[in-house]
Symmetry: C4
Amino acid sequence: MLADLGVLDGFGNVSVRHDKDANRYLMSRSMAPGLVKPEDILEYDLESVAVDARKQALFLERFIHGEIYKARPDVKAVVHCHSPTLIPFGATTVRLQPIYHMSSFLGVGVPVFEIRDAAGRGSDMLVRNGAIGAALARVLADKPVALMRGHGAVAVGSSVPQVVFRAYYAEMNARLQAEALRLGPVTYLTAEEAAASARTNDGVLLRAWDLWKRKAMKPE
Amino acid sequence: MLADLGVLDGFGNVSVRHDKDANRYLMSRSMAPGLVKPEDILEYDLESVAVDARKQALFLERFIHGEIYKARPDVKAVVHCHSPTLIPFGATTVRLQPIYHMSSFLGVGVPVFEIRDAAGRGSDMLVRNGAIGAALARVLADKPVALMRGHGAVAVGSSVPQVVFRAYYAEMNARLQAEALRLGPVTYLTAEEAAASARTNDGVLLRAWDLWKRKAMKPE
Amino acid sequence: MLADLGVLDGFGNVSVRHDKDANRYLMSRSMAPGLVKPEDILEYDLESVAVDARKQALFLERFIHGEIYKARPDVKAVVHCHSPTLIPFGATTVRLQPIYHMSSFLGVGVPVFEIRDAAGRGSDMLVRNGAIGAALARVLADKPVALMRGHGAVAVGSSVPQVVFRAYYAEMNARLQAEALRLGPVTYLTAEEAAASARTNDGVLLRAWDLWKRKAMKPE
Amino acid sequence: MLADLGVLDGFGNVSVRHDKDANRYLMSRSMAPGLVKPEDILEYDLESVAVDARKQALFLERFIHGEIYKARPDVKAVVHCHSPTLIPFGATTVRLQPIYHMSSFLGVGVPVFEIRDAAGRGSDMLVRNGAIGAALARVLADKPVALMRGHGAVAVGSSVPQVVFRAYYAEMNARLQAEALRLGPVTYLTAEEAAASARTNDGVLLRAWDLWKRKAMKPE
C-alpha cells in the first residue's frame, strides 16, 4: 500500500506490535517492502533479535522499531521511510507544520533526529544498534512523526491504518507546505484546530484505508 | 473520474441536485468517492438529513452541499475536494486568477472561506453543521469556486460535467499559476477575455468529459 | 501518443497536410484527440472549410492549421496544445531557450502570440477565424514553435514524427528550464550548438517515435 | 528497468563489459532502450567498433562507453541518460551533493563535462568520436557519476545493479536537492558519512533491484 502511494520504494520497513505479546513485534526479513509475502514476516523481541530468523537476512535498522516499541507502549505500528518530500525538511531548518486538516496530527510538532548526536560524524547514517535506536526514540518522544536528517522519517500509530494514514499525509503535507512557502507567508492550523481535527480524522481514516487496500489488492 | 484525475483521494464528496425535486440532493454514504457504487447513493433534503439513511454513516460535511443548494438555485452539482494544488492558495494571500482559457471560469474571482470566522479558532476544520455551511455558501456567493483555508475547496456547476470540468481546471490553474509566479509577473486573462472564454468553454466541455469517462469506465 | 505523453488532454488538435494535395489537410472532427479513430478524420481546404463535414462539429480553432499550411509550404504537420509546462512561459516575459540538445530546435527562438494584438482585449482567446489564424502564422514566421499567451502553443514540422518530437521536447524543455532558473543563471546551447544538434536529432527521431508508438498501440 | 523509473526515455544507452573479454563491451544497436531485446545486442571493442554490426545502425555516442571502459578497468557497466532532474544541475553552477544516504555515492563529487572544451562552441553536443569520449572519461576520472552540460549524465558501476542504482538515485538526489535549496541552506552528508553509507548501500542494492526487476518483467 505504501509502495503504491510512493512513500516506500525498494527500501524502508513497516512493523506491527504482536497482538498477543506486547514484547514482540512482526516485520519482514530484509527485502523491498512492496514484495513482502506472509511467509517473509519474522517475529522479533524488543532487543530486535529475531526469535526464529531461519537464517534470513534481517534489516540493519530493525532497532528503530524495537526501541520505539520499548519506549512507547501506546505504539502498535511503525513505518520507517525515505519519502521524497520529507527529505528536504530533514536537511534544512524549516519545520513541518500542518497546512491542512488531513495532516493535523503534525500539529504537536515534528522533531528532527540528527544521527551525529548519537553516532558521531562518520556514521553510515543507519540506526544499526540499540543505542542509536534509543536516541531516535528519545527525539521522537510522544510525537507521531520524526524526521531523520539525511535519511528519512519514522511514523508511529496505534494501528496499522493510522500509521499508514500518517506516513502518507506527512508526505503530502511536506509537498504542499513547500509549495505554499514559495507563494508567501503561510497560515497553518492553530494548535487547537490541529488537535480537534486529528481527533476527528481518527474516526474516519478507514475511508482512505479501504481505497488504498483495493488498489493494493488488485491483481497485477 | 475525479479520483482518476487526482482531484479526489480517499476523501472529498460529490453531489447532484435531484432532477425531479429541487429540494433534494443525491450523495453517497460516507466512503472514498472512488469506490462509490449506485447502491451507496442516498437522498438528502436541503437540511442535509438523509431521507432514508438505512443506518449508513453519513459524511460529516454534507452541510456544504445542502446549504449551497439552498442558497444557489442555479447550482445542480457540487464537488468538495482537497486538491493538492489548491491547498497552498487557500493558506496564503495569493489569489487564484485565470492563467489560461481553460480556467477562465475563475475570472469572476475565487473567494477564500476562513472557518475561524464562522466556528472560532478551535474548530476541527469541518463544515459539520448548517450554520458553518451557510457561512461557506455566503462566501461562495455567486462564484463557481471557493477555497477553504487549511482544508480544500468547493466547486459548483449547472451540471455534473461542468462541475467536474471546473474542479479539474481549478486544480490545473493553481499548478500553472504557482509555476508562472516563480518566473516573474504574470499576465492573466482580462475580465472580458475570461467571461467570453467561459461562455465558449461551456459549449465544448463534453469533449473532456467523454475522454475522462472512457478512462473511468475502463475495466480494471 | 501525445495524450499518453501529457502534451494533450481533452483539448488540442493535430493535423497533417494531405500527401496528394498540398491545398488540403486532414484533422479529426471536434473531439478529444486521444479518442480519435480513422473514421473521425475529415479533409479541409486551406480556408479551413471541411470538404465533406458530414454534419460533424468542427474544431473552432481549425484556422490555426489552415493558415499555417497556407503561409508555410514546408510544414506538413501541426500540433496545437495546452501543454501544462508551456503555459507559464506564455504568460510571463521569460523566453524559452534550449537547455539541452533534445530541445535544440528551440534555438532559433520561440515567439509568443498575443491574441489581443489581433482580436482586441475581449476575445474568447480562440483562433476562431482566418484573420486571427493568419496573425498567428505571422508571429510563428519560420520557427518550429510559437507560444500563445493565456492559451497554449503551436508546433509545426516537416513530418508527423518530427512535430510530435517537437511538441514533447518543447514541453520537457519548459519544465527543465523553469527548474534550472530556480538554481541560478543557466548556460543554454549556443546558436551553433543548437543548429548542429537539431540537424542531428532529425536523423534519430524515429527512435522516440517507435517507443511512443508501441505504448500508444498497446491494447488497453 | 531504467525506462520504467523515468531515467531513460527514447534516448540514452546502457552497456556492460564482456564478462569473458575485458576488451569488449555489449550494447544494443541504435534504438530506444526500453525496446531492446536480446537479439538487438551487439559486441564492441574498446575503440567502439562493432565486432559484427550486421549492418545495424549504431549509437553515435558509443564512444562514451568505449573510452570509459578503456580508462577505468574497475568499471563493468555504464549508463548514459538524459535524466530530467539532472539537466538543470548540468546547466548551472550548483553542484550535486548527497542530501541523503541513498545517494551517498555522490559524496566523492560530481564533475561536469563541458563539451566546448573538447569540441568547440559549434558541436552538435554528442560524444561522437573517441577524442571527445576520452575527454569525458578524463573529467569523470575516478568518480561514479559525471554530468554533461546541455546534454545529460553518465553513471558507471562495478555491476549492472550498481549502475542502475546509481543512475536512479542520482536522479532522485537532484530532485530532492533542488527542492531543499528552495527551503534554505542544506545540510549534506559529510564526506565520512557519505563514504561509510556508500559502502553499506553496496551490500543491500539488490533489494531495489529485485523490486525494479519484478516491475520490468511484468507482462504488459
